[in-house]
């Protein structure tokens, strides 16, 4: 049986615009999620610069901390925190999809796995906070 293929020259190709991610809410949220990694990286650079101040002496470190109290920097960290939380939440949702959890016969529902991740995150954050308070000078 011979197959009739469509004539390639008469096909109409629709091109995808570079602004495709602005055309649908789900695509836009996806882009926000992807960009969260940039804000996280920027924050870590700021943190690294803060730690670097220690090579210039304790006054430099204190001065940098003081610099971060300006409204501009507070705003930056609010934005960064929102993106970081969005990354965490979407990462925990993704983990539930990627790594199915079986308890004997049953598959643990994804929402439960996500919730457990969030609990773990809260516990870990608390541990880090306690360690910081204990070790700091």
């Amino acid at each position: 049986m011979s197959v009739t293929r469509p004539e390639k020259s008469k096909l109409y190709y629709r091109k995808m615009p570079a602004t495709w991610w602005l055309q649908k809410q789900s695509y836009f949220l996806f882009m926000l999620r992807e960009f969260s990694s940039l804000f996280i990286a920027l924050f870590l650079l700021v943190y690294l610069v803060e730690i670097y101040q220690l090579t210039k002496g304790p006054d430099a470190y204190a001065a940098f901390i003081h610099k971060l109290s300006s409204p501009g920097w507070i705003f930056f960290h609010v934005v960064v925190l929102l993106f970081a939380l969005y990354h965490s939440f979407t990462w925990f949702q993704s983990s539930a999809v990627v790594l199915p959890v079986r308890l004997g016969e049953h598959l643990v529902p994804r929402q439960t796995v996500t919730a457990l991740h969030i609990v773990a995150w809260a516990v870990i954050s608390l541990v880090v906070l306690i360690l910081f308070l204990t070790l700091k000078g």
Partner: protein
């Protein structure tokens, strides 16, 4: 093993590890560095950063999310119409992460 000689698994592995570190650890550090210290809720001299295992922790905290960013950003920029300069993007993104790794190690050793 007849898999094509792709190095993707390395980058994806680093991306994943970075994603886990960022998801679990970064928010609390933002609260400490961005709010608790500057706004005076907690005071700190920075002495703890000289402890060896704290430096190791910092290395993981800072470096792995850089690879998470590099891998993700490479794909994001490609998909936002910059595919023609794909090779340059690879250098900027993955190279940026590698450069960040070197700088981090340098700083941690110096303090």
């Amino acid at each position: 093993m007849t898999m094509e000689k792709t190095t993707e698994p390395i980058w994806w592995g680093l991306f994943s590890a970075g994603g886990v570190v960022a998801a679990f650890l970064v928010p609390i550090h933002i609260i400490l560095v961005g709010f608790a210290l500057p706004l005076g809720w907690i005071s700190d001299s920075g002495a703890l950063y000289r402890i060896w295992w704290v430096k190791l922790y910092l290395f993981i905290l800072i470096v792995l999310p850089l690879y998470h960013w590099g891998h993700r950003h490479y794909f994001t920029l490609n998909h936002m119409g910059l595919k023609p300069i794909s090779k340059l993007l690879a250098v900027l993104c993955y190279g940026g992460a590698i450069f960040g790794t070197v700088v981090t190690v340098w700083v941690l050793l110096k303090i």
